[in-house]
Symmetry: C2
């Protein structure tokens, strides 16, 4: 939705309210003429943040530093960063009083510039920023970075100030980065309006980076330098008032220098737009790697403090990222090492790895790491082994993983190539391997003083570079541990096109990510369902605060069954009754044995309070069961639901307990249904995530969900293959495949039923809160919903629902 609104798919148009101007760089640009101020940054004119406009923004040829003074550390950083990037354009201090800053002539205002700077880095205090934006607009400056904080991150007032800021920028036709950010670096365009230390030297390369935490930028650059990882553009996003991390993804996809996109995210503000961008990146063959904070509650709190944004539930984020083929990592080292492998390496097309080392211990470590990540180390083909054998000592075993041993060290070196190089030469032609991990490139700290040795090393590394390049399968050079690449190594390897990954641990981890990325590329997921079929559900503002709304309502069992029936979800034969006699009549129609379940909008954990009677085989059993079930106490027997779950049933004395057409305790009656035994019970349902919208959850019922938390989830929509994959992810999956003598479940049929159930949920539109079938019973190809719970929220909050309120969303019951 937002993506389409903002024009990624459609050809760029002039934003509404702005006169069409001269085309530049293929974009119809809006400038100078102020438009009406807009209250919401998300509605900033699309052209200001189109990839083309951002390409211009991120490659300024002249930069005005507004608020620069000799005593400002920020200005000093910006100056140093310009030097670090080799910026050759004009860098003009702007200061309302000082005439020279850092020895350069300064102007008093942007309006005094002889010609507009491409970019203004605005360092002035918060309350002076808007005026500078007007100056910039008047001067024809098209891009601005705002350093000041005191906006959204501070609360409601700051939020309003930020909306004003964005509107003013848009009105002035200015593309805005920040506020509360530290600028960016573009190593290829040699531009660095960046207000932090740049570790030197800055290496230009394939890794594009965007960060929602500016202070981590220096940390990332420092690690990148240590591992000789080259950066294309790095941007600190700040509050993302106009340019968002998602916009950065779209820009980096178009940026020819960027081969891989690395993100540090505290929140994904607009999941639909992010999903669209991730899909584009995937199709463009540019992997996206994300370090997403907030996997812990404490992390979410820290993220909250930092950005003033609510992080979504982490399991949903995790599922969505996987669906989008976005690689998720947990450390900066992992982020950049994975980025480096994907940026410098060739695509990995399989899991079969050849391993070449000069140490048995390294073989052990690599084999353990590979095994943990599902990477195979198959035996060498006989030809490979035969070709390697002459180059290793007679006592060494020629096997994969290969230890060439250190024994070639025993004699003085007479040729450039060593045993492991010859092994590489052979291994790359092994038909049983998909790629080779080469851990044989340990260079001295500096170029050896002995010129003969030095030139042998030159020759060897050149040979390796060529051999890796010409090899039929990718070769991944991996160092032993995560230590800095020396300047000598950086130069020698860089010259020969070799990138060395930082250690066996990080290296194999990155390889695992790269393989999975390749494997998942075939499966493109269009993004959250909310964007197409039920848009409002995926918009955080509409959902926020609603989860405990007292207007929420639990559907009557009959209505819920009706909804499922409409979507052709098979239901267990059953009838709702309100007397023992009716129960007996129903049971004789349905056929014994039967099950009874209390039907009440107040009771969602039925079995915990004695509201379920199973396997009733006679009328007598039925009557006794009816008596038990119909008088089940919603408060539960000494609270077996646990003290942590006080809201699982709404007490009969609740404020609404006498409202509505149901009985005194909200009991509609008792459901009599055919007893199903054998087979397997699942849980399948749809809940609504505040950020990503409707989420499908499947699990094995009963203890599997309640004790083990054994569930799989996906953001909707999904297809049959996804549902089958979800079922396969369950720890209890072997039960569905026929473990312990059960008939294997018909997974195709099961997936179809689950998809219909998901459709039923989506049909409820933005009133959906949850739809859950638990148990969903499967026995071979027999599939039936045994019990169903539907909870919706009326679209209008003042609507008097006939349904009973509940206190919380209940996912797991029976």
């Amino acid at each position: 939705m937002a993506a389409a609104d903002r024009g990624w798919a459609a050809p760029p148009l002039a934003p509404p309210g702005l006169p069409q101007q001269t085309a530049k760089d293929g974009v119809l640009a809006a400038r100078q003429r102020p438009a009406a101020a807009r209250p919401d940054a998300a509605e900033a004119p699309a052209a200001l943040i189109s990839p083309e406009r951002l390409a211009e923004f991120f490659a300024p040829r002249s930069i005005a530093v507004v608020g620069a003074s000799d005593t400002s550390a920020w200005a000093r950083f910006v100056l140093a960063s310009a030097a670090a990037t080799g910026f050759s354009g004009e860098l003009i201090p702007v200061h309302h009083v000082r005439r020279t800053v850092f020895g350069r002539p300064a102007v008093a205002s942007l309006r005094d510039l002889p010609e507009p700077a491409d970019l203004a880095f605005i360092l002035v205090p918060t309350d002076a920023v808007q005026g500078v934006l007007d100056d910039a607009g008047a001067a024809g400056v098209r891009g601005a970075i705002v350093l000041a904080s005191g906006y959204r991150e501070t609360g409601p007032e700051g939020q309003a100030a930020e909306a004003q800021l964005t509107a003013r920028a848009a009105a002035n036709g200015i593309t805005l980065l920040g506020p509360n950010c530290l600028g960016f670096l573009n190593a290829h365009a040699k531009a660095g309006p960046f207000a932090l230390t740049v570790p030197l030297p800055l290496l230009a390369g394939p890794v594009g980076i965007a960060l929602q935490s500016g202070a981590l930028a220096s940390v990332m650059l420092s690690f990148a330098r240590s591992r000789a990882i080259g950066v294309s553009t790095l941007a600190t996003m700040g509050n993302e008032a106009m340019i968002t991390a998602t916009d950065m993804v779209n820009y980096l996809i178009e940026d020819e220098h960027t081969k891989v996109i690395c993100l540090f995210l505290e929140q994904i503000g607009d999941p639909a737009a992010f999903a669209a961008a991730a899909g584009r990146a995937d199709r463009a063959g540019k992997p996206t790697v994300v370090l997403k904070a907030g996997s812990s509650a404490a992390g979410s709190q820290a993220a909250l403090a930092h950005t003033g944004s609510v992080a979504g539930d982490d399991a949903v984020v995790d599922a969505a990222l996987r669906q989008l083929n976005v690689i998720r990592v947990t450390s900066i080292e992992e982020l950049l090492t994975t980025g480096a492998l994907l940026g410098y390496g060739r695509p990995l097309r399989g899991r079969r790895m050849g391993v070449l080392t000069a140490s048995g211990g390294a073989c052990d470590i690599i084999a353990d790491q590979a095994s943990a990540r599902g990477i195979e180390i198959p035996p060498f083909a006989p030809d490979t082994a035969a070709a390697i054998a002459p180059h290793v000592p007679p006592f060494a075993q020629v096997r994969n993983p290969l230890d060439v041993t250190g024994y070639f060290l025993a004699n003085q070196r007479t040729s450039a190539l060593t045993a492991i190089d010859h092994a590489l030469d052979a291994a790359v032609s092994d038909p049983g391997l998909d790629f080779v991990l080469f851990s044989g490139l340990t260079l001295p700290d500096a170029r050896p003083a002995d010129e003969k040795l030095a030139s042998m090393l030159d020759e060897r590394v050149a040979w390796l570079g060529q051999r890796m390049d010409s090899a039929p399968i990718p070769v991944i050079a991996v160092g032993s541990t995560c230590v800095d690449v020396t300047p000598y190594g950086r130069d020698l390897m860089g010259r020969n096109g070799i990138h060395l990954l930082g250690g066996m641990d990080l290296g194999v981890q990155a390889i695992g990510h790269a393989i999975r990325w390749s494997e998942r590329r075939a499966h493109v997921w269009p993004g959250p369902a909310g964007t197409t079929t039920m848009n409002p559900c995926c918009r955080q503002d509409d959902i926020k605060g609603s989860s405990l709304s007292p207007e929420a309502g639990v559907w009557r069992e009959g209505e819920a069954r009706g909804l499922l029936a409409e979507f052709e979800v098979p239901l267990v034969p059953g009838e709702l009754v309100t007397s023992p006699e009716a129960a007996a009549a129903a049971a004789s129609r349905i056929g014994y044995p039967v099950a009874l379940r209390i039907s009440s909008a107040n009771i969602t954990h039925k079995s915990d309070i004695g509201g379920v009677a199973l396997d009733l085989r006679t009328v007598a059993q039925l009557r006794a069961g009816y008596q038990r079930v119909s008088t089940a106490d919603p408060a539960g027997p000494d609270s077996t639901a646990g003290p942590a779950d006080p809201d699982s049933t709404a007490g009969p004395a609740g404020p609404d307990s006498t409202a509505g057409p149901a009985g005194p305790d909200g009991v509609d009656g008792v459901m009599v249904s055919k007893m199903r035994t054998g087979g397997t019970e699942l849980l399948a349902g749809v809940t609504v995530d505040p950020a990503f919208g409707p989420v499908l959850v499947v699990g094995l019922g009963g203890i599997w969900v309640e004790v083990l938390g054994d569930i799989a989830l996906r953001v909707l929509p999904v297809g049959p293959d996804d549902v089958i994959a979800m079922l396969g992810e369950l720890k209890g999956a072997p039960l569905l495949r026929g473990a312990r003598g059960r008939p294997p479940a018909d997974l195709d049929a099961l997936a179809r039923v689950i998809l219909r159930l998901a459709d039923a949920a989506l049909s409820l539109g933005d009133s959906l809160r949850s739809l859950e079938v638990n148990p969903l019973w499967v026995d071979g190809d027999q599939i039936e919903a045994l019990d169903v719970l539907v909870v919706t929220e009326p679209p209008e909050h003042d609507k008097q629902s006939s349904n009973r309120p509940i206190q919380n969303r209940t996912e797991h019951r029976t």
Copy 2:
């Protein structure tokens, strides 16, 4: 056993067969006079490898390099290593032909030395080594390192050669490191007979290292250098013909410079000795950190190739290391970072962490990492927050984790201390914190040219060092990522006693390890049961190859029940019958409902083949059940046990199927027992690990074990607390605690029963192969063994057993 034999506990004595000599360094030393050659390295005289003797061995003041020539890279390495360590003693080349080597005068033989060298580094080829040992013995040399390979790692012949080598060394009174090793370094004693590159500078420090892979030594030293981690003694163990990794642990415990012991292990050769050493290390307050290879099958294969030793089952290794409070890690970076924290830091006495950073992103990452490791980040006390508040900008939130923000950078620095330093000053006095993670020490690459700035940094770091030292709780300085410490940083921080951990990821990981180490110190485990009660079981040689021995025997049900009864394990009431009539009589004595289980030594997966009938409530049901059960086909119904499990039943046509007193199919009869419903079914049993001996396994029965592999294990012996902890580790533990309305199990009673069952298993001594109760039924405080399987191997292999053979060890059935 071995530990005691080898004299760690007893005062050192002269080894048998050797005359008592002059005492030196408190050790009665044996030298010069050859003893009878011994066939087994494990029986090397204890005095040669006592910690005192090793202290002498690892601090040589003169070193002879035997086989040194100008063309030997090994010799060149040894020379360079001597320089790297600052060795000031004599380094004497020994070569049978050359008179000068590397410009130094050489002698032809060790016998020509004017006085004995403390140590001989023997670089000669394999077949010349023994002669050199005789020379060494004759010359009075007391220590030798053997570089040559071609021993145990090559097969049986090499094994014999190695035994000879050890015997010759012992006979000559020589302490031997290797063969197939690269020597050692002692940074404090400034001695480095080490045949690999030493990355310079070599920093002396608290971390002792032993490696079973020599080539990784340089890798470790390189990483240690990059992180300014100082080493005490590092040794490459090679084949461990005499000095083993366990001996190194014992030496490092006594070494005053060593505060923490880091090991790279491919195998634990003598678990009992290792356990004793680990226990001593724990008591001495020196943590042991192990990177143990072989967590994967592929890893075990690589380990096999490298050392010629069989690695034990990894889950058992894992359990044993945890029991011994040995920290297990998976990468070199983690090994040395954990070592550095434990070596340089103060003990961590709790899990409540204060976090100080200058970046919200860092807060996020640290919080996520901490949460994953169970480290708490509680709010600051009001006093702490009040003391910090004046030092952060008004818009910054004073909370834990703290982001002081980068805004202090905005103004030129006028004092040495920054906001985060003031925050540290306050946080260390917070009564709610156990320690503080300080991520605020980012130094420039080199000493600033601006002398004022440089001296402010000097002042700041000095203040930090003092404040950390004086703080009531430990402060852990953590860098942002794993990049090299610069020489400037190393010097400045080193001078002020600050050690900086390599990144948030590795840092928090190390903190988690250190906390767990402290927590577990109270619980000392004496080591494998085999050492005391059933010694032969823990000796690999006795067990090797026995697991598929055809003499193994499954006990008859009655005998197995008898054994449990003897150890007061409660048994379900039951009788073995051989006719439906007898079954009915038994059932009426026992009381309906009853269960039937076929009793046959050929059938171990009873339920898979229809050998179990449950919940029989009438005589008619009983008779029908008897008919079904007694004719159960051992070949199974279309193999529900799965094609991967063909050995789960021995076919009736097996070679022994007519032997013994049992019926034609090995059926003894049918067990009639009281039917137990409700409650929870467990599995509890003892199996024998080839390396560690008897291992206790507990799990939840049925699907929990078979589908989820949900088991906990411990090497025996264990106490009641251990068993309760094991039960708590199960994924299904909530079921025992009363989840889903069950009565909570009496865990104390359950632990007592499981311990009695373990005692029953141990009573079988070295004939034990497995004893398993499955199900072990528990309902509140009612506990009963419902079915039991005992498998033993007769001590003499030629003994004709009356029991039935089985084809494999069966752990999980029913």
